[in-house]
Symmetry: C2
């Protein structure tokens, strides 16, 4: 498998670290010997090397210079379109910043990749929220794979949990805590922090981004519930179809009052099949102490699936993180690798 | 795919009901068109019909007569060995009562099936506890599949969760509530029942068996932790290697005392990698109110995996039930069906 990485931020760096760390087991247990032949990032630099890049050198350059422009060989300066079209990679690993409104520039890049008969692995919510059906059709038409486990709950299996292990089970309803930043802030506030202090602490720990609006106002959770509804429940929702309320509507008084009754505020993303489609929402809710979701604290996320055959199936795990999201890419790559081997 | 069912108790009846109920979706979405050509049960009856049995007629006979001896056509009275060897089935679905000490007669039947180049799908713990490595090697040598999702937590994905969606992740430790009967009794006792009342209620609801020793004394949980340790953690444990303590050591006073401190008794099965192997245990433990496992009540089961890359991943769902365990068989069959299609 020959990979081209588009974007060299936290997520693709996490993937590089995992590929190095787990090299032996991936080779021995899964016969997986990936070669990274190209990386393209507008800021960090771009390099194409037909025979494969040395991951150790890349990681060492990143640590020393936060740039790969001085990599020892190969062609430099290719932009992402040229990298997708002209590199010898058969699989594009895309992890550039997301834009929920337009999906761009990622959406166009993914289309280019699929049209050039390259597998696509991405952690980017925008294109999947906006164009899941179109992209899936494009992948099928070109005989390649499109995988995006990392768009929901980082490496915690959600998409593949349902697609691989719950085949034939109908998902009737989904409820979950799908944003680590929001959940961290709510948990911190239960321990006495003000909203501002909690947000500051989340920023300090690298949990919240400089612009945490998408997390706090519920848009990030809304994007995830749209992906789940469309991919796992057969829906065709747009972000506009989701009723969205963020945690900025919850006050310290609300939280203390709930705690006194042993209740907990959580930002809940939900989707439910109705007679004529799927309704979806994101809103802070007060959960009773008996609700398992009320025990999901800090940056941990969890999703409960209500099914026809198995009742409730719940999975919890990390919702973000460098290696955790890098692993989502790795698990998608292993899936594609396994498919071509059979 | 041509199936022979060995044993026609609750589990294989659950499978038959699901195959009927989900016929359309299995055909449309997964191109899965199984034909059941043989059923063999020493009490309920045996019938072989080369062109496939009519599931509706089988289920209707079971409902009316609890026997399939008067099925309208085919050859009757074949025992399980003859059914495995001489029927035209390519896949053996085995769900006869388990024997944890010897694994028999199931163990010999599964070996016969694999040696006759038939895929094996089973919910029977005994053979997997005793001979996982031997059976896996036999399946490989004969170029067939061996699947046993239903040996742990019925249809809740555990084996396939790790094998399909957590590839390349190392499981360092496992802790879980793996027995629905024991958990139901402990939950009931928290609501004021005596041990005897709780057991009676479990029997009345069809949760506990007539001989509930394996559930209450922890052997059933021990069998499951051995399977998890050997299959998912690379161990080579026997049942004897597990330190086992059942819930019959927990008194009503213990439970009330714990509740007063907002703590909960749970029967915890655990396995942990150590320097030189895996240690495993089953024992009642007092969990704090903050522990997510403390919120797993009634017949629900849950397993927490501590991993190298993803921290803690927890899954919860049903631990038993007719359709729930039948679904484990169905999911294994869908896996084999998918494998041959690629």
């Amino acid at each position: 498998m020959k990979l081209a990485l588009i974007g060299l931020g936290t997520v693709n760096r996490g993937l590089l670290e995992l590929l190095l760390e787990k090299k032996d087991i991936l080779s021995k247990k899964y016969n997986f010997h990936p070669s990274i032949t190209a990386i393209s990032d507008p800021v960090i630099g771009s390099v194409f090397c037909k025979k494969g890049l040395n991951i150790e050198e890349i990681l060492s350059l990143l640590e020393k210079e936060n740039s790969i422009k001085s990599y020892s060989e190969g062609e430099k300066g290719w932009d992402s379109v040229k990298t997708i079209k002209e590199s010898n990679a058969d699989t594009i690993v895309e992890a550039i910043p997301t834009a929920l409104e337009t999906g761009e520039p990622a959406l166009s890049l993914l289309k280019t990749a699929l049209n050039n008969k390259k597998n696509v692995v991405t952690t980017n919510k925008g294109p999947i929220v906006l164009a899941y059906r179109e992209l899936t059709a494009l992948a099928e038409r070109n005989g390649v794979s499109l995988r995006f486990e990392g768009t929901v709950l980082s490496g915690t299996p959600v998409i593949s949990l349902v697609q691989s292990t719950l085949k034939g089970v109908e998902i009737k309803e989904v409820r979950g805590i799908m944003n680590g930043t929001a959940n961290y802030i709510l948990t911190k506030m239960e321990f006495g922090s003000s909203y501002e202090e909690a947000l500051k602490s989340a920023r300090k720990k690298g949990i919240a981004e400089e612009q945490p609006e998408a997390d706090i106002k519920g848009w990030d959770s809304a994007a995830k519930i749209v992906i789940i509804a469309n991919v796992l429940m057969g829906g065709n929702l747009k972000l506009n179809d989701v009723s969205i309320k963020g945690i900025d509507t919850v006050t310290e008084t609300d939280i203390i009052k709930a705690l006194q009754e042993r209740k907990h505020w959580k930002l809940i993303a939900a989707a439910k099949k109705t007679g004529d489609g799927i309704t979806a929402s994101v809103a802070p809710e007060i959960l009773s102490d008996q609700d398992t979701l009320s025990k999901v604290t800090g940056t941990i996320n969890a999703i409960n699936f209500t099914t026809d055959t198995l009742g409730n199936i719940m999975i919890s795990g990390p919702g973000a993180g460098k290696k955790e999201t890098g692993y989502a890419l790795l698990s998608d790559l292993l899936y594609i690798n396994g498919k071509r081997k059979v």
